[in-house]
């Protein structure tokens, strides 16, 4: 403590003042007065030193605590509820250390999420690639019969289309995350939007012999982004087609009131198992009866596209029979939902 110049300076000044007080009192009132003056001045100095020493000891404790936190030690509640600068300092240090610790935990969590994400994406891309490499090998054989050649080429194209579909959706999700996906609100005719949304899935529906029923009465136009809303609905219909059985049925309904437009997409498949319900809209989550080619991003994307416009997608099992129902709600005016 004596190496601290903040202390040694005032200490010297106190000693000098004590001597001066002794001399002055001595000169004015004789030896006894001089001694009394010196003793009194010395006592004041001692009190001052004691207070200062205690304050410095507290500061040193705080410093040691901070050093231990920096070294990864435990966070303690160092706050006390008193008036004064030292108490305020403790309060602020507590807030800052807690915030920092939380941020570092969040970072660790994010890092883990990123690793999981990379793993999922690589897995989704590698699986079709393996099959494609085999088919490319087979195609390279000069003695391959023509009908086989046509079949493999068809399969290659299908796999490539799946990869393209996946990559486009990943790109959309990452643009949503980065906040650079611009929604372009304009008056939209919803029945037309639903027909447009169904178009990309028609081939898949036909291949599985499924019927698509569109129940979309005309209503007032909705103010929103046509392209991305259609994308959300396409993902819902695609999901329904994947879960409806061969020869099954997918029903899309539109209902509008003053608050919201509700678009429901129903299938007549097995419905959503209870254990999948809380995770349905998580990225890369594949339910227990997910389609073999499913990547688990369609529903996540649909929900995020809806939320970007103040809407919401919810899932439930149909009360009127087996099957799942997804409901996309879009607010008719901002903040209505």
């Amino acid at each position: 403590m004596l190496r601290n110049k903040e202390l040694t300076g005032p200490l010297a000044a106190t000693l000098a003042l004590t001597a001066a007080a002794g001399c002055v009192c001595g000169a004015l009132g004789g030896l006894a007065a001089g001694l009394a003056g010196a003793v009194f001045a010395a006592l004041v100095g001692v009190v001052w030193l004691a207070v200062t020493a205690r304050r410095y000891a507290r500061l040193r404790q705080l410093g040691e605590y901070l050093a231990s936190v920096y070294a990864g030690g435990e966070l303690l509640d160092i706050r006390d509820n008193r008036e004064g600068e030292l108490s305020l300092l403790k309060n602020d240090l507590h807030k800052i250390t807690v915030t920092l610790r939380q941020q570092s935990e969040q970072l660790a969590h994010d890092k883990q999420f990123l690793q999981g994400l990379l793993g999922s994406v690589s897995h989704q891309l590698r699986t079709p690639l393996t099959g494609m490499l085999v088919m490319a090998d087979l195609l390279a054989r000069p003695d391959l019969p023509n009908e086989k050649r046509a079949e493999f080429t068809g399969q290659l194209t299908a796999q490539l289309e799946r990869m393209q579909w996946l990559l486009e959706r990943l790109l959309t999700l990452s643009r949503l995350d980065a906040g650079c996906l611009v929604m372009d609100p304009a008056p939209v005719n919803l029945p037309a939007l639903l027909r447009q949304a169904a178009a990309p899935v028609r081939v898949a529906l036909e291949l599985r012999g499924q019927t698509l029923e569109l129940d979309c009465p005309e209503g007032p136009p909705w103010q929103g982004d046509e392209k991305w809303t259609a994308e959300a609905v396409t993902n819902l219909i695609k999901n329904a087609s994947e879960h409806a059985p061969e020869g099954g049925r997918v029903t899309v309904r539109l209902r509008q009131d003053a608050l919201a437009a509700r678009i429901t997409v129903e299938d007549n498949g097995p419905g959503i198992p209870a254990q999948d319900m809380p995770h349905l809209f998580e990225r890369f989550y594949r339910g227990s009866n997910a389609a073999p080619g499913s990547a688990g991003i369609g529903l996540a994307l649909a929900r995020e596209l809806a939320r970007a416009q103040g809407g919401e997608v919810t899932a439930e099992n149909r009360a009127d029979g087996p099957g799942a129902r997804f409901t996309l709600r879009l607010p008719m005016r901002p903040g209505a939902l």
Partner: protein, 227 residues
């Protein structure tokens, strides 16, 4: 990380036959960064609960711990200091001080602690609240929505651990209500502010992470609003 723990909290008013149990053995806990809505009919005890959480009343029995500190184990002075540093309160009727201007009302918790107000913090806050050009106005020169924004700013200026709001939109029209809720959500999402809001309005409750329903002084439901 647990931020708030309520243990067997009970509050009775009156004596003998006239005794009323406003809050009856309520226990729950809130994680840091959670946004909890508390709903219930009038007289269900939700305001009593909020006052006890905010350290402005004393319970008949039970404990309230904010970040491990037992509110009612402290003496009045320590509790008052704890309150102004760790708890932000927003009321339905704003409770601004009429003779202080917007800047003074906003910075009151800091001034009580004898602190100087950081210029850039105040600028950022008033920008977010949309009050930058109102700093020298008195409360009665402001609209209800603006007054409520001042009281939100006052609740947040000391970066409290916990923010409590009692019917924050109860006195406002729907547009101002939506704006106030958007502000509260923004502080919740961007700063991870832990938030407890009492409300009658289901539309507001649905914006929370979690909904606690109180009837006759007891918690009857406690459910996640969003997974």
């Amino acid at each position: 990380m647990e931020l708030l723990r309520v243990e067997h909290l009970t509050r009775r008013y009156g004596q003998g036959a006239a005794q009323v149990t406003a809050l009856d053995d309520v226990s729950f806990s809130v994680e840091k960064g959670e946004f909890v809505a508390i709903m219930g009919p009038s007289g269900s005890g939700k305001s009593t609960l909020l006052h006890l959480l905010g350290g402005v009343d004393r319970p008949t029995a039970g404990r309230v711990l904010v970040q491990g500190t037992d509110l009612y184990a402290m003496d009045e002075t320590a509790l008052a200091i704890f309150r102004r540093r760790q708890i932000g309160l927003v009321y339905q009727f704003y409770n601004l001080i009429p003779v202080l201007n917007v800047r003074e009302n906003l910075t009151l918790p800091l001034l009580l602690d004898g602190r100087r107000v950081d210029r850039s913090l105040l600028d950022r806050l008033t920008d977010t609240l949309g009050l930058a050009d109102r700093l020298n106005h008195l409360p009665d020169q402001l609209s209800g929505g603006q007054q409520q924004r001042v009281s939100i700013g006052r609740a947040l200026i000391a970066s409290p651990a916990l923010m409590l709001a009692d019917e924050p939109t109860g006195n406002l029209d729907s547009r101002n209500s939506a704006e106030i809720m958007a502000l509260l959500r923004r502080f919740h999402e961007e700063k991870g502010q832990t938030l407890l809001v009492i409300t009658h309005d289901e539309r507001i409750a649905r914006q929370a992470d979690r909904l606690i329903t109180i009837e006759d002084g007891r918690i009857t439901r406690d459910e996640a609003v969003r997974p």
